[in-house]
């Protein structure tokens, strides 16, 4: 058999094409992989592994719930107790949206060794709701009229406080003084004076205090700590965080329950230290809108953003805070601002430097909030060598002018437009979130995190840590030091907005620098009635 050149070409022409493609494809993939591992080696970031805590062994921890509203119910679910009503709602939602995983996550949550033995709520409907769902044959949940009675009942080891802000400190202090363990929602206190008093009580108590900043359990934040420690971003001079919401729930206009009236709500008990006013359902259900009971954006949401970053950077209370803003989107009688811009200064803080010693020092932390637009502005940490976007996932971009990465940038192995690191512990797990407010919290890493690829509620982790520490000893990740810093920062912000002035902190003395003629706590609590000027709701 004879072959002409033409015949060979026609028969075997495909082989060199195949060979070249194989070579080109493999070479390109291998080069990319090599460059990638070179960058990763340089960064040397260790994605954090889930923290293990010793289990709560022995008798179940007997928990009393103080405040069984929206947050109180959520906290109980983290403890492993869901109301029948919530279960029914979730089953309904799952029918409409099979991607909704809330019930599945709840049911697969490991049981904490806890029993709910008491509830304290001034609204009959809510107290009964807890009793009906959480009582069992062996354990009837008891309703207490006051927190004092519950704390002194002798059948409670720990309390979970999810009341309006103005009740946080009085209850937490009373519990700690009686050596009852406390899980208290943020902000930890409502005034400056209370913040010191609660710190004193916590220091002197044998009981364990945990403040409800559950994101300290989020995996991406733990990884972010490693990134900062390794100096990947270089000197961080600016941090931007924000709150962006545009819905009734996000603006604290919660539903008013039809059973609510003067006979079903202990109004005097709700008011506590707040100014005496006639029964008002709007104030009862939507208390976050008034300084008398809440603290608006500064205590409710800035406190989370501040603590998220304080847990990564550990920068403590800012040296000064200037805030501005107003009631621009919800003129419905509220007196807390709904648009708020806050500059927090840390002139002596540094995350380390890749440049000449002494050139870089100081950081501004901006918190910017509106309740009139939901565009999701990310949390960004801006360093000389890199930029980090931080939420439930984490992305790092190299900086064009970086000193540390100059060589990589020069060789075009890095490009300012292309991320050099991406961390997403829950990548590719499809999820559905039911409301805009949940999405807001989820994006920030405040709602859940991932343990070995499985979605878990970060509040469950936070509770688990608290229970483990109160039984086995150890240190909680958000104790009195962190709570003190968070509360003080929130109060300084509130004061700055209310007074229209810069508020300074004396780090050495651990106190606010006085302003002549101003009583800070009086200013903080002042709750003007704006209902005449605003629309009626």
């Amino acid at each position: 058999m004879k072959w002409t050149r033409r015949e060979v070409l026609k028969g075997l022409g495909g082989i060199p094409i195949l060979g070249s493609l194989w070579w080109a494809g493999s070479a390109s993939a291998i080069t990319k992989k090599k460059e990638r591992s070179e960058i990763l080696e340089q960064l040397n970031i260790e994605p954090s592994l889930p923290t293990e805590v010793p289990p709560v062994t022995g008798d179940a921890v007997r928990v009393g719930i103080i405040g069984f509203g929206i947050r109180g119910e959520q906290l109980c679910r983290s403890l492993g107790f869901a109301t029948k009503e919530w279960r029914a709602d979730m089953e309904e939602e799952m029918k409409e949206n099979p991607q909704n995983k809330a019930l599945e996550v709840f049911d697969s949550q490991d049981k904490l060794n806890v029993v709910i033995t008491g509830v304290c709520d001034v609204f009959d409907y809510r107290a009964n709701r807890a009793i009906n769902s959480f009582s069992t044959a062996e354990n009837k949940v008891k309703r207490y009229k006051t927190h004092q009675e519950m704390i002194r009942s002798g059948v409670i080891d720990a309390v979970v406080i999810a009341t309006p802000d103005h009740w946080h400190a009085p209850m937490a202090i009373d519990a700690l003084e009686n050596n009852i363990h406390v899980y208290v929602e943020k902000p930890m206190t409502h005034t400056i004076e209370e913040t010191y008093r609660l710190r004193e009580a916590a220091r002197n108590s044998k009981a364990v205090l945990m403040v409800g900043h559950q994101h300290r359990q989020t995996q991406s934040f733990k990884t972010a700590q490693d990134i900062i420690e390794k100096g990947v971003l270089g000197h961080v001079s600016l941090i931007e965080t924000s709150t962006n919401r545009n819905d009734d729930n996000g603006a604290w206009n919660y539903d008013i329950h039809p059973d609510a009236n003067e006979n079903t709500i202990d109004w005097d008990m709700f008011l506590g230290s707040a100014p005496k006013i006639p029964f008002n359902k709007n104030h009862f259900f939507r208390w976050r809108k008034w300084w008398a009971y809440g603290s608006g954006l500064s205590g409710d949401l800035l406190s989370h953003d501040y603590d998220r970053l304080n847990c990564v950077l550990n920068f403590g209370i800012p040296d000064s805070i200037s805030a501005s803003g107003g009631i621009y989107t919800h003129r419905d009688g509220r007196n807390v601002p709904d648009v708020l811009q806050v500059n927090m200064e840390f002139p002596n803080f540094s995350t380390g430097s890749s440049q000449v010693k002494g050139k870089e020092k100081g950081l501004t932390f901006i918190y910017s909030a509106t309740l009139g637009n939901g565009y999701p502005r990310p949390t960004v940490l801006m360093g000389h060598d890199g930029t980090m976007e931080l939420g439930n996932s984490l992305v790092i971009w190299p900086e064009g002018g970086s000193t540390k990465f100059a060589e990589f940038l020069e060789e075009e192995k890095m490009n300012p437009g292309v991320p050099i690191y991406y961390y997403d512990p829950g990548a590719n797990i499809p999820d559905a979130i039911s409301s805009a407010t949940s999405q807001y919290f989820a994006d920030k890493g405040l709602l859940w995190t991932y343990l070995n690829g499985k979605r878990v509620d970060s509040t469950w982790l936070h509770m688990r840590e608290w229970l483990s520490v109160l039984r086995n000893g150890g240190k909680v990740s958000c104790g009195i030091k962190e709570g003190f810093e968070e509360a003080m920062t929130a109060h300084m912000t509130g004061l700055s907005w209310k007074l229209g002035r810069r508020i300074d902190w004396d780090r050495a003395k651990e106190e606010l620098i006085p302003i002549e003629g101003i009583d800070f706590d009086q200013a903080l609590l002042e709750s003007p009635d704006l209902s005449a000027d605003h629309i009626r709701v």
Partner: protein, 158 residues
Amino acid sequence: MSETNIKRLKNSVAFLRVLIGWHFLYEGVTKLFNPDWTSMGYLASAKGPFGWLFSAMANDSIIGVIDVLNWAALIIVGMTLILGIYERLGALIGIVLLAMYYLAHPPFPGIEQINVEGSYWFVNKNLIELAACIVLYRLPTGAHFGLAYIMNKKSKSE
């Protein structure tokens, strides 16, 4: 059709065959050599009437097998079409693969398109490449350009 026209047609289809083979092979090889590659995101984000089926394929327990099948199929299609042998089998596998890619993210009105560079309404490049594979299946050209040419000559001379 005149002899010359038939020859021209065969040349054109063989050219089309090599280009499609090229496309498949390169996709397959880069996936094979990239240990980080996975089709999980693509499958998990599937939309349209068969979205549920593709999402199920993204399950942790089977995604490894799905990934191997994907790059292996891409490479088989690429090799058969470029070499011009078993090309009808290659074209068939190509049709099945492309039909799956098309259905996982179908360009139907009302379905969000992710990572697409053009504007599509029912017809997109996956569907056109699928149609081209049908042509390759109907008009094998391996005996005109490819290993099948050598096989034929050998069997004729034996």
